[in-house]
Each structure stands twice: as C-alpha cells, then as structure tokens.
C-alpha cells in the first residue's frame, strides 16, 4: 500500500530576516538579523520544492502560510516531512508542536533540510535542534569568543612587541 506523505514548508521566521537583508539595515537589530540569516543560509521555496519533489516524487508540497488544508492532510498522513529552509529549522517550533498534536500515532515525522539532509525527527533529535536554535539566536558562543578576543589581544600584542614583530 502506498504511503501517504506530505511535505510542509514554512517561512515563519525568515520574513523579518529577509526584509532586514533587503533593506541592509544598520541598526543593531537589523545587523543581527542579517548575520543570523547569512549564517543560516536558508534556501528559497523553489529550491525546497525541487528538493522535496526529487526525494518524494508525487507527494504534496504545502506552504503552511498559504494553504490551510495542511492540517487535514497531516492528520491522515503516514509520514510528514518538515521542510526546513535552513539546517536546524528556525521558526518551526510552533509547526512542530502542531504536527505532533495532529498526526496519528504511527505516523513518522521527518526533516528534509536546505542542506539536503533527510532524517527522522524523534524527541531526542528535536531537543537537540531546539537547543541549537537557542544557542545560535542568542549568539552565546560568539559573545564568549569576543570576550576571549578582547582579553587575549593585549597579551598577543605584547608577545609580538617583545619578538620585534609589528
């Protein structure tokens, strides 16, 4: 029996980011959004549709912002494929929760992301992805590295000075 598969695409988080990119805003928030967008390198809808069609030929591709019928389709699907434009699914938390609520017990939830990775989305993986979204958005590592940079630079300058390097 043929599996019923549906692909769900969302641009919930990328609208504001792309707007900041287009406007090349120099405000701190604008620069932050551009940085997050640049690093995430999200693919556009056409790319994701083409990718989904190649991996799941014949399965419906639904942009959830444009088509409300996805809820009924998801409720009866055997497999729901979340189409992350980026690698870890920025902006997909709400959709993920709704998919988990709507799906039947045996239905599989998978991810096909903009890096062309296809994987099962279980609770463990979902927790790992959500943690990464937070870490990336808060730029925790980046602030830590900047602090290290500020503290260590004088020491390196001193070392170079003592070695006669300018």
């Amino acid at each position: 029996m043929r599996q019923k598969i549906i692909g769900l695409y969302s641009t919930a988080s990328w609208g504001a980011m792309q707007e900041a990119s287009r406007k090349k805003s120099r405000s701190p928030l604008g620069m932050y959004r551009r940085a997050v967008q640049y690093k995430a390198n999200p693919r556009d809808e056409a790319y994701m549709k083409s990718l989904f069609d190649s991996q799941y030929p014949g399965a419906p591709f639904v942009n959830v912002q444009q088509d409300n019928s996805w809820r009924a389709l998801a409720g009866s699907a055997d497999a729901i494929v979340l189409l992350y434009p980026d690698s870890i699914g920025f902006g997909f938390s709400r959709l993920e929760k709704e998919v988990w609520r709507l799906k039947t017990g045996w239905a599989e939830v998978r991810v096909l992301n903009g890096r062309r990775r296809d994987f099962l989305l279980n609770r463990t993986t979902l927790r790992a992805l959500r943690a990464r979204r937070w870490i990336e958005q808060l730029m925790l590592a980046e602030f830590l590295m900047t602090a290290i940079f500020v503290c260590v630079t004088p020491l390196l300058l001193m070392a170079d000075f003592l070695r006669g390097r300018r």
Binding site: P28, I88, F119, R132, F143, M145, T146, A159, D160
Partner: protein, 285 residues
Amino acid sequence: MSNGDVQQWWAENPMTYGATHGQTRFEDGSYELGTQDFFERLDRKFYSWNLPLHGERPFDRLFPYNRYGAGSQVLEIGCGLGTMAMNWARNGAAVTAVDLNPTSVEQTRQRFGLFGLKGNVRLMDGNRLGFPDDSFDYAYSWGVLHHSPNLQQSLTEMMRVLKPGGEFGLMLYNRRSILYWYLIKYLEGFLHYENRFLGPLALASRYSDGDREEGNPHTWPVSKDEVRGILAPYCRNVDVRVLGTDLDSSLTMLLPGLGLVLPSWAKKPWARRLGWSLWLSGRKS
C-alpha cells in the same frame, strides 16, 4: 573522491571570485566570461581579498619577482583564470601555467591573448606533471593543492620538476584557523548539525569554497607540520607564514560589525596566528 570528480566540478564552477561561486556576476553587474572587462573585474576582486600582500605590484610581498625575471622558467600549478600567471609573465618570466580544469586553461589562454602576453598554458594533472626533472627555476601554487585528493603526490611532483636551488611558494588552507574552527567545525559541524552527516573531510569540503551553494568535491586544510613533513626530503628550511587576509570577514561572521569596528592593530596578532591561509616557501636542496 577522484581527480575526475574534482576536475568536473571545477570545470563547471571555475574560481571567478564572483558573488556566487563559479558565476560572473559581481556587485556592480554581470560580466561575460573571457572578456577583458571580466578579467580586469576578477583581478580587482581577487586583489581586494589580499590587500596586505601587495606592495608596488600584486603579491610582491610574497613573490620574489626580482629574482625570477627575464629568462627564468616559472611554473604555476593550478592557474585558475590566470591572474597570477599574468603577473609573472608581465615580470618577464617564461611562464608555464597548468591546470586540471579545461575551463581554466581555455580562459587563461584567452587572457594571455587579450593582454598580449606569452605563456605556455596546458591542461595537466598536478599529480603527474609532464615535464622532465629539474625544469623550473621557481614553482608556485595558490589555493589549489588542498583540493587535491593526494597532496603528497602533488607536492612531490612540484619538487621533482623544480631545479636544485630553485624556490617554491605554496598557499594552502590552514586547519589551525578561526575560519576552520568557528565557521566549519563549530557553526556548520556542531550548531548546524552537519557533524551527524559529514566526517571532517566532507565537512571541510562542503563548507569551504562554494559553501553558499553545495560546497566542492575535496578540500582538506593542512597543518604546518603536515606540509613541513612532506617537504622535508626536498627542503631543509621551509618558511611558513600565516596569512590572515580572511580575518575581517571571519570576525564579521563571528559578531556583526566586529571586523569593521576593530582597528587593524588589534586584528593583526590574530591574523598572523590564526588566519585561513598558510604561505610556505623555501628552496629545493
């Protein structure tokens, strides 16, 4: 990954220094491949990425132009679209430029024709150079051999065709760099979950050249010790410099605006230690 895969990818995606890897669109518009305007635009972009390496002439803070002028046999391994080969030809050297990529060979010949320069530009695999031993006075390769699936063989061949006492210059990507650690290992490998799918070589290949699209078939950044080890039989004193011309963009990726706000004197100590490129030079024993 075979040389054939590498060759095909670079033929389809030559290093144009455009806004998208392999394309001829720049910030100020699109250029037709193979025209004089295109080569001049490409050169401006390439030079702008390496400003600290230029003095009165492009890359003269690295290349020993004064020692290898008229009458010198100079070899470039991996000429790309011919920028550096052109500069050596303008220096008066007898330039031989080879590349595995037929697009590069065709475009470099086109460039030489347009700019009225003489050079021997040939399609050739750097792992099997078709020259006798001890053919060249100076040999160099810029940002190419880390794309070779067999770096040792590539370097061995380069040293074979270099005359005893001849000099060499190599630019290779540096594994001990901010770009590698932050952008490739941390951002893409860990944060973007790619470690789950890609080993270290595949990760470096995917997220170095062509990273905004789908990456390239093979890139393995090196360490100083690795390359010194390969060159040790041929050269007793390999000089290694870290080139940090990437640092502005790497720091800006780290924190928005950081690369722009920091003064150059604060960036210099990091650039000379943790830059993305190594420049290795020496003289064949």
